[in-house]
């Protein structure tokens, strides 16, 4: 027995959910919900415990990187992709978030999904997701990471399309997978380039070698810049950044716990994780960093504007997720990787909570998701209301809630490192304002005011404790989850970034001004951020509580803007018109019907038919008339003589020509 059993057998952590998934998937169909529950929860819970134990051992052995090679997965030539897992500080954060939040959502799901068909299937998929997500975060090389990367995509596909009878659901699943694949295309090329450059895809060796690599100047598209951008393309796909974000709002077709787990807390943050994991590459490629920051910031703002007018409760949250992911990328882009990861973690808490609470609302409303048909729910489902409010406060960045700390850190970094123009910061701040507005809009529309539904038809009821329990835990996390950073406001150490320091060691962009100034600046910026959050809250209050008729009038007076926002800037339509439909048209009419059936097969068949026609012509010479035959013999005779006498005839023929 090794001294650190869990670190030695890291593979147990991901394997447990896989086993659960396999058992439920293969045999669960005939089992009752209780057995399915115990398998699913058991495997995830055990996995969580194992993760905790591993983390404990990790701390116990002094926070040194642990790397284990289990077996050769792919070997070819000098290429080796092993089934290698590793654990370091970054992994610790991710593993805990994944298993912890995942476990909570599993519990929640037992309540939420209790009356759905395909119960075993759902948990099988969910466990499968856990497996792949854990592989993703534990992987010690890019190829294995890619396994998790693709695998979570698969699980996402399966879960979005869980209600496969609905065309919209299966469409959304397909869309998610394909858009992700577009990102993966870049990710793969990035890996190839890295392998070509460094000859390995193992994190440790690769990063060590990349550390020696000279940093590329801004505006230079060197190897690392290209590689980083390609990796970032993958991240864009997975983390729903511009221009590949389109799948995420559609992904809300899946059951709500799925939205919470995959499309809010864990999977979509994988892109951030990869960027953070590859930070050394990005740091050496300022151009790539700049792109990451700009894309993140743009996405954050862009998604937030769409979120302003959405009426579907989950859609609002979806766009909010896109927006928050943008924040994380903004953080990474400006070099504040630890801030990004910090936000990733807090976001996992409050966004999971928001989704779960929204699920609880939907559950209570009997499946209704349109906020315009809700209202005044705070009395009937108080627990849900309370937890959701906490989450909203957190996301809006109200001080002392988790989101406040992480968001503040990001805005601060953006202010400091945006090259003087502060554009990134200003948009970040605007986004914070918008976030606050639409989140409170959601709260007000849902919980306050009059009930806009028929009470006789909809039987409002608070959710069971299996659902409320996780809500409460997550609410606590949403409050306290950010307190790692509390000391910084009193010029204390930033525990979170210190913990992650070995990963990002020395690579976070250098601070420019003196500590005191920085501290003052930080306080000022925090104040501005809080002010904007409060402003957003106030506007929401004014519009949706004080003057309930105002928003409609506003929408009418600015119909163009409103419709554009409501229809998400028509991006889906644009993609359909510019990419999807032309491609299908091209494939159908040009490639298949014209080139394949027409040109190529036409040529083949044409040759065959042409041969047949020539054959028929040859046959026509066989007229049956002996006189004609005699002519042919004569012609043949002349031909033979002509050919044999050609050497002699040639000069004669030449003369005739001249």
């Amino acid at each position: 027995m090794p001294t650190q059993p869990m670190l030695e057998y890291l593979w147990i952590i991901p394997l447990l959910p896989l086993v659960g998934s396999a058992i439920n998937g293969l045999f669960g169909a005939k089992w009752s919900n209780a057995i399915v529950n115990s398998v699913a929860l058991g495997s995830t819970g055990l996995s969580f415990l194992c993760a905790l134990e591993a983390v404990r051992e990790f701390f116990a052995q002094g926070q040194v990187l642990v790397r284990r090679e289990y077996f050769d997965w792919i070997i070819a030539g000098n290429f080796r992709a092993g089934f290698d897992l590793q654990m370091d500080q970054l992994t610790v954060v991710m593993v805990l978030v994944v298993t912890g939040v995942g476990f909570l959502i599993h519990i929640y799901s037992t309540g939420y999904m209790a009356h759905e068909g395909g119960y075993y299937r759902f948990f099988s998929y969910l466990n499968l997701f856990m497996f792949f997500m854990l592989i993703l975060v534990l992987a010690a090389n890019y190829v294995l990471l890619f396994v998790g990367w693709e695998g979570v995509g698969l699980a996402s596909y399966l879960l979005i399309g869980f209600y496969f009878l609905r065309k919209s659901a299966s469409d959304a699943g397909k869309k998610a997978f394909i858009v992700n694949r577009i990102g993966d295309f870049g990710f793969m090329l990035g890996m190839f380039l890295l392998f070509r450059t460094f000859g390995t895809l193992d994190f440790t060796t690769l990063f060590a070698k990349a550390g020696q690599w000279p940093a590329e100047a801004m505006g230079v598209y060197g190897t690392l810049t290209i590689a980083s951008l390609l990796l970032f393309m993958g991240a864009c796909g997975k983390s729903a950044q511009l221009p590949l974000y389109v799948w995420l709002p559609d992904a809300m077709e899946g059951p709500t716990p799925v939205s919470a787990l995959i499309h809010a807390a864990t999977m979509v943050t994988a892109g951030v994780y990869v960027v953070a994991r590859s930070n050394i590459l990005f740091v050496h490629a300022p151009t790539a960093m700049f792109v990451v920051a700009v894309v993140g910031c743009a996405t954050a703002f862009f998604a937030a504007t769409i979120g302003l007018v959405q009426t579907d409760i989950k859609k609002v949250l979806a766009y909010s997720t896109v927006s928050q992911l943008g924040y994380m990328f903004l953080a990474c882009g400006v070099g504040a990787f630890s801030a990004g990861i910090f936000h990733l973690m807090t976001h996992a808490f409050f966004k999971a909570l928001l989704f779960l609470a929204a699920g609880s609302v939907i559950h209570a409303m009997g499946g209704e998701q349109d906020m315009r048909k809700m209202g005044g729910l705070w009395k009937t489902i108080p627990w849900t209301f309370a937890t959701m409010l906490i989450a909203t406060l957190a996301i809006a960045g109200i001080p002392l809630f988790a989101g406040f700390f992480s968001k503040d850190a990001i805005l601060f970094a953006a202010f400091q490192n945006s090259g003087g123009s502060h554009i990134l910061y200003i948009f970040g701040l605007l986004t914070a304002l918008l976030t606050s507005f639409y989140m409170f809009r959601l709260i007000f529309l849902t919980f306050s005011g009059k009930q806009r539904f028929d009470e006789h038809k909809v039987h409002i009821h608070e959710s069971p404790w299996s659902m409320l329990g996780p809500l409460v835990i997550l609410a606590l996390l949403s409050i306290f989850g950010g307190w790692f950073a509390l000391p910084t406001f009193f010029q204390g150490p930033d525990y979170f970034s210190n913990f992650l320091a070995p990963i990002f060691a020395g690579r976070e962009l250098a601070e420019t001004t003196s500590e005191v100034l920085v501290h003052q600046l930080e306080l000022i910026l925090a104040g501005v951020a809080v002010a904007s959050a409060l402003l957003g809250w106030a506007v929401a209050y004014w519009l949706y509580v004080k003057r309930p008729g105002k928003p409609e009038r506003l929408a009418k007076s600015m119909a163009g803007v409103y419709n554009t926002l409501l229809n998400k800037y028509y991006v889906d339509e644009l993609y359909a018109a510019v990419i999807v439909r032309p491609l299908v048209w091209l494939s159908t009419n040009v490639l298949w019907k014209t080139v394949d059936a027409g040109v190529i097969d036409g040529t083949v068949n044409g040759i065959a038919q042409g041969t047949g026609v020539v054959g028929d012509q040859v046959r026509q010479t066989q007229s049956g008339n002996t006189r004609s035959y005699a002519v042919w013999v004569l012609v043949g005779a002349i031909l033979v003589i002509a050919v044999i006498f050609w050497p002699i005839l040639k000069p004669v023929a030449g003369m005739a020509q001249r």
Binding site: Q622, T626, R627
Partner: protein, 100 residues
Amino acid sequence: MVPTQYYVILSAILFGLGVFAFIFKRNIISIFMSIELMLNAVNLAFVAFSQAKGQLDGQIFVLFVIVVAAAEAAVGLGIIILIARNRQSLNVERVDLLKL
């Protein structure tokens, strides 16, 4: 004396006329006769060469050719009778059941 050349040129002309006759004539018997004409042309060439070479071989060949021609005539006319009996026509162009 007459040069051998003259004979062979004559033989070539007769041969050519035979070829033309073969294609031109429609009556099977006439066509057959044009073959005989061609054979005669050949014979002339043989005799002429025989004389030119001072050998008798050529004349022997002529005898053989005549015998073969006789045999062919017997068979050919038999076939012609068969055709005439089967089809009531001696026009070679009307005998075109087998074609394509």
